[in-house]
Symmetry: C2
Subunit: 353 residues, 2 copies
């Protein structure tokens, strides 16, 4: 029997609850598809600070590097917000991304027919939306140097090199080849030098993909167009901070940030996580929506393990659960037949497999 | 009779058409309220490049500095996009903002009851929205140095000093005092040093305004919340590029970017302009919506000239025109009784005064 080593990082807030449900579903699907998953758990974020004194212990980095893929929940919380920057949960996450070399963060935004009313956008605006946001994840202003804050003046550097842009650009074009063959590159080239290099490099890459239609959009306009007419997009490729903002906007098109998964892939072990945060305000109450994490687990099966059939089964089970009217509290207002807890939702999806 | 000197910059694309309509309305209102406006026209942007070889001629800077207020249309177009950066229309605009010292860009987003269906957002989500976006306009990554692009590596610097943050922060708190007394400061303090200084400084300013409630939001979450529940906001204050993105998002809440005005104020002459661009694709066809520019003219009367009664008259005339079912093409689908041209809309609003 095939066996995979999966590293698990539950993190803070609702992280443990939602990851537990994803594991439940992974167990069901691996059993039914005839492969085995071996999990090893590691610490990161606030809990790692509390237990080990650092947000990213060396064992976590080592352990994940030696695994086939990493499933991750969420980190952070007010409790750690006043620590010095290098000791904060977020710093652990950013260092983790860098150490894993996960330069490409894929954030698909797809509408579930059953939840077309969950968005604040009108149904006719969002029906059929299928966007893939490709966000550069280990460069740009998140990591640029110099950076400083002396209490009077503070600055950060938004920087990209051509090879960094090339690798994320190629990822986007390759994805577009398997989709509707359209890439929209988002930048602010009318103001920023770094965006001009981004744009010029995208144009160069496009020459290698004559079948793909490349367009460019300024980031302010893109934020507007995502709300005005999201159906116009296929693949969106953009830098780290623009991608952070635009993928959150895209999540609202879909209706709930509790539905959206992400895959961070690159040179080493890939990381799969929901795009939402650790939501400390609702932690431990059994009301968090585990679907984003469960879809992330399906992405892991598909992209890192090549277990497409198992991934399809998970996707189908989620659709069936939604179709049958099961809803966690965040989606209670949208055609719910029964409001279920975090773990009940996990049970239902696992049972449908 | 009181007399004011108004500098006029029509710019490119639809700029001349929409500014002409605003002047028509200003003439009507100044006549009816008993003051005189004297206009002087100056060049900026693409047309300035074509006529004088530079996007911001010295006479423009001089002329506007010597005027009581500046009414501006829009600049830019593909024709000039391949020029070296220092010769582009946008560079002219940025230098202009810097030379006028207009650090505070006010972008109100208010719903017209008559157009509540024009937004892609559901009516119940947007009814009653009244947001004031206060965007820092002459600092941040737009102007930060060093900046460079050598074709292999490119970078920009996002920088703020405490005094820069203090003056924009004070502007936001003063505005909040006249509104619902809530300021939401938007940053990315979990990642950026420059945002940490921003946040700390906002906290300091808040001490001088005990009646105002200050909250903080990360920019990714703010982009999401503007779509999820825009009614939660009163005043939003943020840096240059975040404000660029968020005010465009806010415009979609309102339904059409053709409705939103802006005021840029600071140390010297204030600038009033629509938030939309020069839209070269529809220029010269008489289909542009002049309302954003006409509302900008009303803001000019209110903020720079203290002619509140005249400003109220313009606002009322616009509302009446919309209520009576007059629509430019962009709003044709929303309860239109009659589709009118750019200049017809100007006539109607002027007549209602
Ligand atoms: C927590 C934070 C550092 C992170 C980011 O900005 O990348 C989050 O917003 C995300 O999008 O994964
Ligand atoms: C044209 C461009 C330079 C400008 C900006 O980014 O400030 C525009 O988008 C705006 O918002 O006024």
């Amino acid at each position: 029997m095939k066996k995979y080593n999966i590293s698990i990082i539950k993190g803070d807030g609702i992280g443990p609850e939602i990851v537990d449900e994803a594991i439940k579903v992974l167990d069901a699907v691996s059993y039914s598809c005839g492969f085995a998953l071996e999990y090893k758990e590691y610490l990161m974020g606030g809990i790692a600070i509390d237990v080990t004194g650092t947000p990213l212990p060396d064992e976590t980095v080592e352990g994940v590097l030696n695994s086939d893929a990493c499933l991750f929940g969420a980190i952070g919380g007010e409790k750690w917000d006043t620590l010095p920057r290098e000791l904060r949960p977020e710093t652990g996450l950013l260092n983790f991304r860098e150490k894993m070399g996960v330069f490409a963060n894929l954030r698909p935004a797809i509408i579930y027919d059953e939840l077309v009313n969950a968005s604040t956008l009108k149904p006719e605006v969002i029906e059929g939306v299928d966007i893939m946001v490709v966000r550069e994840l280990i460069g740009g202003i998140y990591f640029g140097k110099p950076r400083a804050n002396d209490g009077f003046k503070a600055y950060n550097t938004m920087v990209y090199t051509k090879p960094e842009i090339q690798r994320i650009g190629k990822t986007a074009f390759e994805l577009a080849m398997k989709r509707d063959k359209r890439v929209c590159s988002v930048d602010k080239a009318n103001v920023l030098e770094v965006s001009q290099l981004w744009r010029d490099t995208m144009e160069e890459i496009a020459k290698d993909y004559p079948e793909v239609k490349l367009s460019h959009m300024y980031v302010d306009n893109a934020a507007m167009q995502l709300v005005r007419n999201p159906k116009q997009f296929d693949v969106i490729v953009t830098g780290n901070i623009f991608g952070d903002i635009l993928s959150d906007t895209a999540s609202m098109v879909v209706g709930s940030i509790g539905l959206l998964p992400s895959a961070s892939t690159g040179e080493k072990t890939a990381i799969y996580e929901p795009i939402h945060g650790s939501a400390p305000d609702i932690a431990g109450q059994g009301i968090a929506n585990p679907i984003a994490t469960i879809v992330s687990a399906a992405m892991m099966l598909r992209y890192s393990l090549g277990e497409d059939e198992a991934a399809d089964k998970i996707d189908a089970a989620i659709k069936k659960a939604l179709k049958d009217g099961y809803r966690t509290k965040d989606l209670a207002a949208y055609d719910a037949k029964e409001i279920v807890s975090t773990s009940e939702m996990g049970d239902i999806i696992a049972n449908y497999i």
